[in-house]
């Protein structure tokens, strides 16, 4: 809990708010379920009422009133401008280059913004079998840019991924071009501690913003590699009371019903 003039808030709330602020009004956004969906819907409830949310279930322009529990919630279909098939959403819309922003989570990330959502440990003898890539590999390939949102710790920000599910910037600058990916790739990683952005020259993730009350050392010790820090680290603005109210109003339908 952090105290602020706008009220107390958690690090998770700061993370969601900081991620939401990145989404421009009117942006067409391919949203992963969970924290990304929460952040995208917060943006829609605050500064970005015209953001177009697309879920991989084929719902285009979903305007959920409650936070969907899954990408297939009925509310997504009922509030969407249109629902298309899953092959179509991935071919004509995502691969077709129609999406501005992909919004992803992951289990692990490396210094070049590559993501693991497949397995912890060895693939054939895993310690933890994770759900898998889903839409992430192609979301990160074809959206104009990709935002990643995940909590920062040495277990999630790792020197070496156990499995590279999704390419962020590959082996660094030039990798995406070699792979033929159109989009800019991961342009920011929003965590519970701050914001990392790829260095324009090397594409290595660099700390560019700290959330209130967090120090560079806090972030270093939560990072599994030798963290690069921008010469000009900004300070995230605290959540406004409007943002906090909107975020807390975003609840799954069944929580609301109880």
């Amino acid at each position: 809990m952090t105290e602020s003039p706008n009220g107390r808030y958690t690090a998770d709330e700061m993370m969601a708010v900081a991620a939401a602020r990145r989404l421009a009004d009117g942006a067409v956004c391919f949203v992963g379920i969970g924290v990304p969906s929460r952040a995208a819907n917060l943006a829609r409830a605050t500064h970005a009422p015209h953001a177009v949310l697309i879920y991989e279930s084929g719902t285009i322009g979903a305007k959920p009133e409650h936070l969907p529990l899954s990408i297939g919630d009925g509310e997504l279909a009922e509030t969407a401008d249109v629902v298309v098939s899953v092959p179509e959403i991935f071919s004509y819309w995502l691969q077709g280059g129609r999406i501005d922003v992909g919004f992803l989570g992951a289990a692990q990330i490396d210094r070049f913004g590559n993501l693991n959502s497949t397995v912890i440990g060895d693939y054939d003898r895993p310690q933890v079998r994770l759900p898998g890539g889903g839409g992430a590999p192609e979301i990160a390939a074809w959206c104009r840019e990709t935002f990643v949102i995940l909590k920062q710790s040495p277990r999630t920000f790792v020197e070496r991924l156990d499995f590279r599910t999704t390419v962020g910037h590959g082996e660094g600058a030039g990798s995406r071009e070699r792979l033929g990916f159109d989009g800019a790739g991961v342009t920011c990683v929003v965590t519970d501690l701050g914001v990392l952005e790829p260095d324009p020259a090397s594409a290595e993730l660099t700390l560019t913003a700290l959330h209130p009350g967090v120090t560079v050392d806090d972030v270093r010790s939560a990072t599994g590699w030798e963290l690069r820090v921008s010469t000009d680290v900004r300070s995230s603005e605290e959540p406004t009371s409007e943002e906090l109210a909107a975020l807390r109003a975003l609840k799954p339908a069944e929580v609301v019903a109880r």
């Binding site: 379920i33 969970g34 991989e56 279930s57 084929g58 719902t59 969907p68 529990l69 899954s70 990408i71 297939g72 919630d73 009925g74 997504l76 279909a77 009922e78 249109v82 629902v83 098939s85 899953v86 092959p87 991935f90 071919s91 995502l94 691969q95 497949t118 693939y123 003898r125 895993p126 310690q127 933890v128 079998r129 994770l130 759900p131 898998g132 890539g133 889903g134 839409g135 992430a136 590999p137 192609e138 390939a141 074809w142 499995f163 590279r164 599910t165 999704t166 390419v167 590959g170 990798s175 792979l179 033929g180 990916f181 799954p252 339908a253 069944e254």
Partner: protein, 272 residues
């Protein structure tokens, strides 16, 4: 023309040991009742195919129906892991489970290629991902641009099972809401079983509805509430509480087996 049959008869006739079986549904209209009937009839050595395996595949895997899973995202949506899937992959319980793992885009392209009887599906994908080593993917070079592109072998299930809202008495099927990859999965399969909430005299056109003519469906069986605990748009909502409960039920092998015995194995041919 589709036959209208009882669910237990349909499973007995259409789903055989060793089959490649797709019970499709992208978080909506999951054919739970059909999956439970497959468990009750004790099918073995199935290759289970689905983009988003969730609770019913967890149950089928935990009950030993499957030897292989073809998928692109396997979890308890909005809740977390599938513990029976994990136990099979991590500890070979109740049996080892071979995985063929895709990205959503790759698996959707594979279904579409199956439906279109193409020798492969094409996508711009998999490049740079470790998934390329773990999935069925090949590479072809464009004769026009020299660009190398991923291709995936078509998915051609022996039998696809989907759940729909309605059929008419001729066996024409209508489903609406999130329709996922169901049309492709049905058209890609050798045999197709559709369970429905109800049979109606005629299918009024609806916005966003997918229509499957009777002549691409092998059998239709009524299974009211047959997608529970997932949902059937226009009929009932998702039982979100159950998805949360499943996390607890499925963590422990004995708890799981006891629950399955009580709620699936020892019930009649009706959804749990």
């Amino acid at each position: 023309m589709a036959e209208l049959v009882q669910l237990d008869e349909a499973i007995a006739e259409l789903v055989r040991d060793g089959d490649v079986v797709a019970l499709e549904g992208f978080t909506h209209l999951i054919p739970h009742a059909a999956g439970h009937e497959i468990i009750r009839q004790g099918r073995r050595d199935l290759t289970l195919v689905r983009m988003t395996p969730d609770v019913v595949y967890d149950q089928m895997i935990g009950m030993g129906c499957a030897r292989k899973l073809v998928f692109s995202w396997g979890g308890n949506p909005g809740v977390g892991s599938l513990h029976r899937l994990r136990d099979a992959v991590e500890h070979d319980w109740p049996a080892p489970l071979e995985l063929e793992e895709h990205s959503h885009a790759g698996m959707a392209a594979a279904y579409a290629a199956g439906a279109a009887r193409l020798p492969f599906g094409v996508l711009r994908g998999y490049a740079g991902s470790d998934l390329a080593e773990r999935t069925a993917v090949g590479w072809v070079t464009s004769p026009f641009t020299g660009e190398e592109t991923a291709v995936v072998p078509p998915l051609r299930p022996d039998v696809t099972v989907v759940h729909a809202q309605r059929a008419d008495e001729s066996g024409n099927v209508q489903l609406w809401g999130i329709s996922g990859v169901q049309k492709e999965a049905v058209l890609a399969a050798d045999r197709a079983l559709v369970t429905v909430e109800e049979i109606v005299p005629s299918l009024e056109p609806r916005p966003g509805a997918v229509f499957l003519p009777s002549w691409v469906v092998t059998a239709v069986a009524v299974a009211a509430h047959g997608a529970h605990p997932s949902y059937a748009q226009g009929y009932y909502d998702r039982d979100n509480a159950f998805y949360v409960e499943w996390d607890e039920i499925s963590r422990d092998r004995d708890t799981f087996l006891a629950w399955m015995r009580e709620h699936v194995v020892e019930t009649a041919s009706a959804p749990a």
